[in-house]
Symmetry: C2
Subunit: 534 residues, 2 copies
């Protein structure tokens, strides 16, 4: 069997020129390493998912032009490159080009088109019909694309019956907590079933709400792991199919896996959108502390600015915690009291609000002043604002639209509050001294928008809340199904109601990294106008 | 042939109880009118589109339960009711129940599942397999659902070959400018093709970004229009298939059709989400004038509050125009200068902004103060805020996120600026005296965020801008394709770049009424991170 290189690359969506350069660079490197075949991920040339760019004829035409130009430069090695193919009559395909001797020698079209969760492939692609069997250096290889290997009895089976000696699957499989393990188990099952080695190449990098985590791998016919690439990093992995299996490779601890996905997702969103520096509000609370740590790990401490914006309701302790956190992280820190602005608003509104009791209007104003100040820095200096809200808050609407929800990216959008704690503890475990002050972790969470406010007085214990949210949001369970838990049915019904009523807020929220099987992104498409209650 | 009643109803999404009541009410009324069959729109029982509610098993189960309960009450008449069917093994169908004598006597499952534009039906539904032929009062009837009649050679053809004597199509077809005419032409073609009468029942009402416009109709085998229901209103239309055709019925003028879609979409979004009253910023400009008129026509003048929030950059003339508009419309009017708050922001930020030139930061602050004030009224008194931005602005990002984009609903989100003018002129033509002051229509549009600012100095003439936007947004054309126009290629490239760069803003905008073939809603799914340029 020949020597293969797995090119686990991080392309930028739509940047056909730069992606083609990256692909050519990896091909050259693979050749230096004497590989006879180099394999790239699904839609490596244009990035994944291109969404409605696929509806633009010129986009598809330009990607084919880029592929043809690239192919001409490939000599002395085989390359498999993901791209968008067209039949010239309106149908397009999610495709893999097999390139050799300066030509595209064959093309495989994906057959299984996922159209669930975050995927909309039936919106764009026609179903492929060819067999994906090609001869490479005299050896028959079966080529499939992502979903093709997940669906029982799909093309990989015909390929193994068609005497393939090797199966190759190119993927752009988004990260979810624990997903790498699932993929590996699946590939082991498939390898044993087909009695063939499998080369699996996954994309790496962040694209809006998705993070592709890499972890490309090679499985032997007996199910042994021959090699696995890094998670969350680019890598050109040389593979000798006859090599001794490297044996079991540990999976990352769940907290580390999630944390690294958040770092990569944040870094790529900021940098690929042309920003360098971020700003965020540091309240002295745990959410902003975690986002600050993620931002520093993603972009470096010189590219993160923490801004504390205290009001009369902020405790001295939270303010000094914010300061200490910034010091621990080594980031620029500004402290801007909001009182003068708040007073100006109240004075302006006093004629109209006379005789009314203070309510959510006055609370939200404080959050909105903070949002405006952060956006003023963003507009003045070109920094992207990171929001600090977590999934528990986003779920029940415990957040202010145009206030703390203002910003370009929401790193914790898919992280429940209980997981926020776990991630903070994990991050603190990396050093001798904790980066995130212990007092931040130990203090009862509060929005500090009125005296003596605490989150848990409004929302119940976070342990309970997150349990309900996991069941309702991630599992689509009803009050009826959840009743078996130890949690009060009236409480469950109240939380579900809050989730439903907050849909309009989520619809105006910035994107964040998908981590769970159902994030508040493309995999959550609930109507705003909706009277269904259960 | 028997007497049929077309029940063109406006259900509320997810409100199974209320929708069942509405259906039963219409059945009773149809019986009074001696109809032998009454037909309801696609998914009438649960509302359309239910989106991810369909992924909840309990939602589907409850809709079937509601259908069974409803069926028991139907005696002495046939009813065709759209609902979600389930095979009990995980597959669900977009279905039509044929109900008689207290029972569901037959069910048809939709076969053609649209998965383009705003539609995601393949995400949810399995493809139906039965023939949709049922006997009603001894007459063979072919039943199909929406897309089934649009796709050449689909089930309607087998039904006509299967000796159906009548074709019935139940739909929830969203309004687009000119769509009713398209539908009528299609149905005439189908009727002639099959040599059969067609009864077409469409939904009416607003659901988030969609407006269903009704216009249900009956076409004779020779293509003559036997009857057509109203657009934008509920109606129980009695149809005698043997009656003399009513002859050609005029279509609404394009401006009226669009205006009425905006009114219905706004009314239903506000009311179905439990609001009664709206507030909006009245700048004295044309966009807010049009939104105010729409709001009054949708909700009544007592439920609309106009708030003018002048700064030092607002001309006296725009302020007095805002006042005059409010007077003409008879709505409550407040005038709240923002200077004191603006000064407080600038003072607070002065240390940090020292030495910088005034830029977009200071401009956006003004828009954000206005957004905050409107939201403060919303939070204090429970009014929904309507935003006033149009599609041209939303396209190129000529709007402030968390500023003038703050609000629950954006009536003009899919209306290009040139169309805004047309709609104002149409609305003014209804009365002897113009509701919208002529000076508003004649003045050069300006955001009034700095001295001597005009839109067209920044964006080019709106005539040109809208032409480029129509080609780029609604037709997915590239610079290359558009070059044939008389518009400068560099200008086109600049505008396209602005559209691409503004994706992040649109993603955080409130919903608005879809009017064109491609609105900035579910039919516009572009990535934010995107380096493709053309």
């Amino acid at each position: 069997m020949f020597k293969i290189a797995i090119a686990q690359i991080n392309p930028t969506l739509g940047d056909l020129t730069a992606n083609a350069q990256k692909i050519l660079g990896n091909i050259a490197l693979a050749q230096k390493q004497k590989a006879q075949l180099v394999v790239f991920p699904e839609l490596a040339l244009c990035g994944y998912p291109p969404e409605d760019l696929l509806l633009k004829e010129h986009f598809v035409a330009n990607n084919i032009k880029a592929l043809n130009a690239l192919a001409k430069k490939v000599r002395g090695i085989y390359a498999i490159v993901g791209f968008v193919d067209s039949d010239g009559k309106g149908a397009i395909y999610n495709a893999a080009a097999i390139i050799a001797d300066g030509k595209i020698v064959d093309v495989y079209h994906k057959q299984q088109l996922p159209n669930y969760g975050v995927f909309d492939e039936k919106r764009y692609f026609a179903v492929g019909k060819n067999r994906g069997l090609v001869e490479i250096n005299g050896i028959k290889v079966g080529i499939s694309i992502c979903e093709d290997i997940w669906v029982e009895g799909a093309i990989y089976r015909q390929q193994s019956l068609g005497r393939a000696k090797l199966l190759i699957n190119i993927s752009s499989s988004p990260s979810e907590q624990g997903k790498l393990k699932l993929r590996q188990e699946l590939l082991i099952r498939r390898a044993k079933e087909a009695k063939l080695p499998i080369v699996y190449v996954n994309m790496v990098g962040g694209q809006d709400e998705l993070v592709f985590d890499g972890g490309s791998m090679v499985i032997a016919p007996d199910g042994a792991l021959i090699a696995r690439a890094k998670q969350f990093d680019e890598q050109l992995l040389e593979v000798d199919l006859k090599a001794k299996p490297q044996g079991a490779v540990e999976f990352l601890d769940s907290d580390e896996e999630v944390y690294r996905a958040l770092v990569l997702g944040t870094r790529d969103y900021v940098l690929k959108n042309g920003f360098k520096k971020v700003a965020l509000g540091l309240s002295g609370g745990i959410d902003s502390a975690l986002v600050a740590a993620i931002a520093v790990d993603a972009l470096g401490k010189d590219n993160v600015v923490g801004i504390s914006m205290p009001s009369q309701f902020n405790a001295k302790a939270t303010q000094s915690d914010a300061r200490l956190l910034a010091k621990n992280l080594g980031i620029e820190f500004k402290e801007i009291p909001i009182k003068a602005i708040f007073v100006a608003y109240l004075k302006t509104l006093s004629v109209y609000f006379e005789g009314t009791a203070p309510n959510i209007a006055e609370e939200n104003l404080q959050a909105r002043i903070r949002g405006n100040l952060l956006m003023a820095f963003s507009n003045k200096f070109g920094w992207m604002v990171l929001t600090t809200g977590n999934k528990s808050e986003m779920a029940v609407g415990y957040c202010t639209l145009y206030g703390d929800m203002s910003g370009g990216f929401a790193p914790l959008k898919d992280i429940l509050k209980t997981k926020v704690y776990a991630l903070c503890r994990w991050r603190n475990s990396l050093g001798v001294d904790p980066i995130i002050p212990k007092s931040i972790i130990l203090r009862a969470p509060s929005a500090e928008l009125r005296p003596d406010q605490t989150d848990e007085a409004s929302l119940g214990a976070y342990e309970d809340l997150d349990q309900v949210l996991h069941a309702y949001v991630e599992k689509h369970q009803s009050v009826g199904t959840m009743k078996n838990n130890k949690i009060d049915a009236a409480y469950i019904a109240k939380i579900i109601r809050l989730v439903d009523l907050s849909e309009y807020k989520r619809r105006q929220s910035p994107p964040g990294v998908k981590i769970t099987p159902r994030a508040f992104g493309k995999d959550w498409r609930l109507p705003i106008t909706n009277k269904y209650k259960e």
